[in-house]
Amino acid sequence: MQFHIGPALGRLRLPLGPTFVSAILHVILLAVVIFGASMWTTDRRTKPVYVVLAPATAAIGSPKGVTMPPPPKVEEAPAPKPAPPAELPRRDVARDLPARDLPARDLPARDLPARDLPARDAVGLPDRKSLPLPAAPTRPRPDEKELPRVASATPAATPTPAPARPEASASPPPPLGAATGSASGAGPLTLNVSDFPYAYYLRQVTEKIREKWNGRAIPGSQPIVVFEIRRDGRLNLATIEKSSGNTAYDQVALRALNDAGPFPPLPDDFKKSVLRIGLQFGFDPTGG
């Protein structure tokens, strides 16, 4: 067979059969490369932490007019160990987490604590080893329970690291809230390798979005949006990472996000030019 394509290719004999096979092979190869790469990157994105901001009021109430307790001595620091767990929001959060419509590929995030534990040991909490750390993957894994507590940003969580390490009194306890955490998140409450340990900031961002999200949420599948905040607090870009299945509803979520800006300026010591946030919208049947 002969093709007359143009003067330049006019005399070219094109072996159609081999070319066709080659084309199919190329397509398959490309598909493997591209989807393989995308799967690889999804795997990479399991690193971020799901910070579930529990309602702060439940934990602390309004401190207005609260008289200051006498300054507790440092030795008394481990005393608040029996924190009333029922009052704290983290239990709810822990139960909630699996219920969210997180994409399946984000589930491997639960493996994170296991991976990070050696790092914590390196910081010098040898007692952690006594915990059933590589525990059998039975359903409510102890690691899983820890995740929200660490992530929960309420100050109530701050004075209660004691339950996390009841043996702390044996060794000299680091003062509550001491600088045992680090930017790489090796501290007892950061638990993870989050690059962004500023709980107040996430709280404020969540509050601003929540204000605009009130009254717009509808039941059913909820979208996940990824957006960036610039150093001056302005919204950089927002994209739907996981659609709710309802394009119009996705747009409502994006609009709520846009209406919520500008956000607080990024903390001085956070050096990146933007903060990238994965945002899981939710529907609260009580709060609308």
Binding site: V27, S38, Y200, R210, D284
Partner: protein
């Protein structure tokens, strides 16, 4: 060679096809993973609890009590912002003592504080340098959020009324609001209002919280409806100082600069409203018979008539885009709120069924506040599209004359709920109402300045 070229061509084509097929299922985006994930569901919003202990004096002597005054005034600003609760507690944290700082934050965090502000003062005579460090008390090691320096000096010669130390505190509060919300606070602003019995009304200027009153007119006549210009340097007002209701402009921060006449046409010259760029003034003139709305070019005095109607058109208020003007007209029988384009075209009625006056367009553009007569007067709000009409005050005497704060979240207004006309400020949702004037004289007709330069 040609064969190779053709294969490359085909390969290129396939790459494009493959990318095209792949892209819609997984939108092209920056591949960096998010730094953090958060969850947002509905629910009531909560205030941020902030600890604001007395400032530490690093250098110099604090004869004037600044270390207490600054956090007290700034703490009141944060409370008035409606965004913060200030956590009580007065232990002074010494400078350069990390252990004491740590212990203080532990105590404040235990008392429910989400954030702490530690002030460090360097005082040299009448010059003060204040460094304010903000800490996140919800993170395990009380991370430093930001550190900001402020400088202030006593004015030479000393001026009456305006207190530079309170202004320093206001600036600190505004910066704290910025750091936690992304938008500056409105503490470093002024409110002007009218004081006096009928027959002798003078205009005064005070801090937005009502402290530090100083008179800006002293003509013994009747001075009405002050309105701040967008650059916060001048105030337009109506005065009878020449016997007729003419429109003037004064410069409250430039004592040597005299009052300037803006318009003195025959009849009424009233209801000034600045365009957002400060170049024009919408106003009401009755020089052609009944009151109509005009636009005055401030620099040249050129006039442009906007309304042409046999009924009364008055009280214009610019939208923040400068493209539209809300006003009052009784062309529908009773006074109602209308909106028109800047050239007077496209007039449409915004409110129905009531007696509505004093429209004021929010600096954010999304709300128009007005006064409704319902036995007494009350403040209402409505969207510029005419939806979501809602009452802001109710059952508390007579409330009128709203004025927006530059953040579009606060309003000043006059109320006689205490038995005498006084000026109040409140949040747009009608909460956190605070009386800012007091005394035997009537205080009316507030105007909230833009943020001071």
């Amino acid at each position: 060679m040609r064969r190779i070229a053709l294969v490359m061509l085909l390969t290129g084509f396939m790459v494009f096809t493959a990318v095209g097929l792949w892209a819609p299922t997984s939108p092209v985006r920056a591949q960096a993973p998010p730094d953090v994930y958060i969850n947002v569901t509905g629910g009531g919003s909560t205030k941020l609890n902030i600890a604001l202990p007395d400032f530490a004096v690093v250098n110099g002597s604090d004869a004037g009590g600044l270390s207490r005054l600054l956090p007290t005034v700034a703490g009141n600003d944060l409370t008035l912002s409606g965004l913060f609760s200030v956590v009580a507690g007065t232990d002074r944290i010494p400078a350069n003592n990390p252990e004491a700082l740590q212990q203080a934050w532990i105590n404040f965090a235990a008392a429910g504080a989400h954030a702490g502000a530690h002030g460090l003062l360097t005082i040299r005579g009448d010059r003060v340098e204040a460094e304010v460090r903000l800490y996140d008390l919800t993170s395990p090691n009380f991370r430093l959020i930001a550190s900001r320096k402020f400088e202030a000096a006593a004015p030479q010669p000393p001026t009456s009324g305006a207190d530079w130390r309170r202004r320093l505190a206001h600036k600190i509060a505004d910066e704290i609001v910025l750091q936690f919300t992304g938008e500056k606070g409105v503490a470093d602003t002024k409110i002007s209002y009218v004081v006096g019995p009928s027959g002798a009304k003078e205009i005064v200027v005070a801090d937005y919280d009502g402290v530090g009153t100083s008179p800006v007119t002293r003509n013994g006549s009747i001075n009405l409806s002050p309105v701040w210009s967008p650059d916060a340097r001048s105030i337009a007002f109506t005065s009878f100082m020449n016997g007729y209701p003419d429109l003037f402009r004064l410069f409250p921060f430039e004592p040597r600069r005299g009052t300037q006449t803006l318009s003195s046409f025959h009849g009424i010259n009233s209801s000034p409203s600045w365009s957002p760029d400060g170049q024009f003034l919408a106003l009401t003139l009755s020089k052609d018979g009944n009151p109509e709305i005009y636009i005055l070019t401030v620099a040249t005095g050129a006039l442009q008539r906007l309304t042409r109607h046999a009924s009364i058109d008055t009280e214009p208020s610019w939208s923040p885009t400068g493209q539209q003007i809300a006003f009052v007209s009784d062309r529908a029988g009773q006074p109602r709120i209308f909106v028109m384009d800047r050239d007077g075209s496209n007039v449409r009625q915004l409110t129905n069924g009531g007696f509505h006056t004093q429209p004021r367009w929010s600096p954010k553009g999304d709300t128009i506040v007005y006064t409704q007569r319902e036995g007494t007067h009350n403040l209402w709000a409505i969207s510029p599209g005419g939806t979501n009409a809602r009452s802001l005050t109710t059952g508390q005497g007579d409330n009128q004359g709203a004025a927006w704060a530059p953040d579009g979240r606060h309003l000043a207004f006059q109320s006689n709920r205490s038995g005498r006309w006084q000026v109040y400020i409140m949040l747009l949702d009608g909460t956190s109402t605070t009386q800012i004037t007091s005394g035997a004289a009537e205080s009316t007709s507030p105007s909230w300045s833009p943020r001071l330069p």
